[in-house]
Amino acid sequence: MIKLKNIEKVYRTSTIETLALNAINLEVGKGEFLSIMGPSGCGKSTLLNIMGLLDEPSKGEIIINNETIQDFSDKRLAHFRNQKLGFIFQSYHLINDLPVLDNVELPLLYRSASASERTQLATEALQKVGLSNRMKHYPSQLSGGQKQRVAIARAIVGRPEIILADEPTGNLDSAMGNEIMDILIGLNKNDGTTIVMVTHDENMAKKTNRLVRLFDGTQVL
């Protein structure tokens, strides 16, 4: 499903060059739940961002569903992200000016979905994460766990094949973290969604199908 070939990421400033990822070769199969672990600064999030087409590698090739991504135009890339990918971030990244329902509808806004269709799908997604009673609330009125559940609803509303989650339980207590994890496992098992998750937490990683470890930008496991 996702194939990374010889990925390298270098950050350059006027004085220094930092190698964030070095010759990463990784394959994620369809329906797999993969976790990436490693110490802070080892390149976990960079790798996830490259997989999610949020960042460009300095070298290497990304192939998703047998399509090589590098040649995509801005418009095609946007369309691809919209149709195939869903994101969950550690700091939720909700739009504070919009109520919960509008936040969840966001990916559908960039598709040819009617307003009623958008509302229906977003409501269903919120029901799935147990937040249908908070649709008109604003993000500032929610707890951390609730915000992350809204973020999950947003990630799944467009029924993407792949969900990329960057430390989704990182800002939550263990009870709330487990709840979020259960939702993700459910998505993987019931809907067959491919999930790649970056985490610091061994316990969470153990719940996934496969674990990849990074150290100083290199894959060690």
Binding site: A78, L98, Y110
Partner: protein
């Protein structure tokens, strides 16, 4: 999509109240000032009650005599002698009328002193202008030939001198120790229409001056009414032919003019002749160029302010841009979103300006600052100003929006660093 743009626009405007206030204040205040200034300019130079024929009138308002050897110069309105002996002989105008500039005099009603503006005119003045007679009628050629001491007053003078709304035709009024019979009452006009505004209108032959005195300089301005403004060049040419034949006259032993010049010009042209010496059409062009230049300069200040505000407004929304891009918004869609926001902001500013302008103009018209003021909004200017604001709004919004929309998602999510 548009509904969502609108929703987010109003949410952003509501969230950043201070920036919204500054932006809206900049746009609406600029438009307000432009609209009020153009209303004033319109009021000054456009045809309006009772000068409805201003568009097809030429004005002779100045006679300049020069002594080029001594560099001496005498300039003033024209004399009755000059009008009767030269101007009235013109064939090309449809009608010729004349009047003095307004002067002030005291009139007494019992013990109350009234300071009144008065103006001497001929009978044609009433045909060239279009005063509403609330009562009575204007004086005629017959009145002038009969040397009748009759006057026309405006409603304001009637109300102050006799009482509000009373019938006064046939009554007498003492002005400068002379009793005049009131023959008509007109609805007054604003003093800014200086060629026609007055409290009291008197036949020119009742003036206590030697009307036969041979002089070119006097106190009258002449209205040359053309059938059509296409006739202006012919009338101007005829007047210049007359000027060539006018003998130089001086009653001053120290001033011996060797050159006399005077022009028949449009209202705007003669108004601008105070500042320039070029011909009427060129003056008009200068005026419009100066006005457009002023308007652009005036509007560029809030535009620069808007650019700044837009940049900081959009920069602080980097994270939102990142989120939208992550979930499928293309750079083009995001640029459209920010442009829509700017257009809405400008339109709201325009709407506020419109309401304020109506209020300010209503206040000016009713405050008594200018008696009989009848300022109106110049819609053409208002629409052009809105359009210019929109262009500035777009220009100021497009660049930062375009730049931000091209940010890499991961950088945008981190706040655009």
């Amino acid at each position: 999509m548009l509904k969502n743009y609108l929703k987010i626009t109003f949410a952003v405007l509501k969230r950043r109240k201070f920036f919204t206030f500054i932006s809206l204040f900049g746009i609406s205040f600029t438009l307000l000032i432009l609209v009020v200034i153009t209303a004033f300019i319109d009021h000054l130079i456009s045809a309006g009650y009772p000068e409805i024929n201003r568009d097809r009138s030429l004005y002779i308002e100045k006679m300049m005599q020069q002594d080029t050897t001594q560099q001496g110069m005498q300039s003033s309105p024209v004399s009755l002698y000059f009008i009767h002996n030269y101007v009235l002989k013109m064939k090309t105008p449809e009608m010729i009328g004349y009047a003095t500039y307004p002067n002030t005099i005291n009139a007494y009603n019992n013990q109350n002193k009234l300071k009144l503006m008065y103006k001497y005119t001929d009978e044609n003045f009433w045909n060239i202008t279009n005063f509403d007679f609330l009562e009575g009628k204007p004086y005629t050629k017959q009145n002038i030939q009969n040397n009748d001491f009759v006057i026309v007053i405006n409603d304001d003078t009637r109300d102050k001198y006799f009482g509000k709304g009373v019938s006064v035709v046939g009554k007498t009024m003492e002005i400068d120790n002379v009793n005049y019979q009131i023959i008509g009452v007109v609805r007054g006009c604003p003093v800014t229409r200086i060629c026609v505004a007055s409290d009291v209108y008197l036949p020119y032959n009742t003036a206590k001056v030697d009307q036969t005195k041979q002089s070119l300089n006097g106190s009258y301005l002449v209205f040359l009414l053309a059938k059509d403004k296409k006739d202006f060049p012919v009338i101007k040419a005829e007047y210049q032919e007359i000027m060539k034949k006018v003998p130089l006259i001086s009653n001053d032993k120290w001033f011996k003019p060797n050159k006399a010049s005077s022009t028949a010009d449009t209202y705007v042209g003669s108004f601008l002749s105070q500042f320039t010496h070029s011909d009427g059409d060129t003056k008009k062009q200068y005026l419009y160029m100066a006005l457009i230049g002023f308007a652009l300069l005036f509007m560029s200040l809030p535009a620069i302010n808007l650019v700044n505000i837009n940049i900081s407004r959009i920069m602080e929304r980097a994270s939102e841009i990142g989120i939208r891009k992550a979930f499928g918004a293309s750079s083009k869609v995001l640029t459209y979103q920010f442009i829509t926001e700017n257009i809405i902001l400008t339109l709201i500013g325009g709407f506020i300006a419109l309401i304020l302008s109506v209020g300010v103009i209503y206040f000016i018209n009713n405050s008594g600052m200018i008696n009989y003021a009848d300022l109106t909004i110049n819609w053409k200017v208002f629409l052009v100003a809105i359009l210019v604001s929109l262009i500035f709004g777009l220009l100021s919004g497009v660049y930062p929006a375009w730049r931000m929309s091209r940010l890499q998602v991961v950088k945008a999510l981190k706040g655009g660093e």
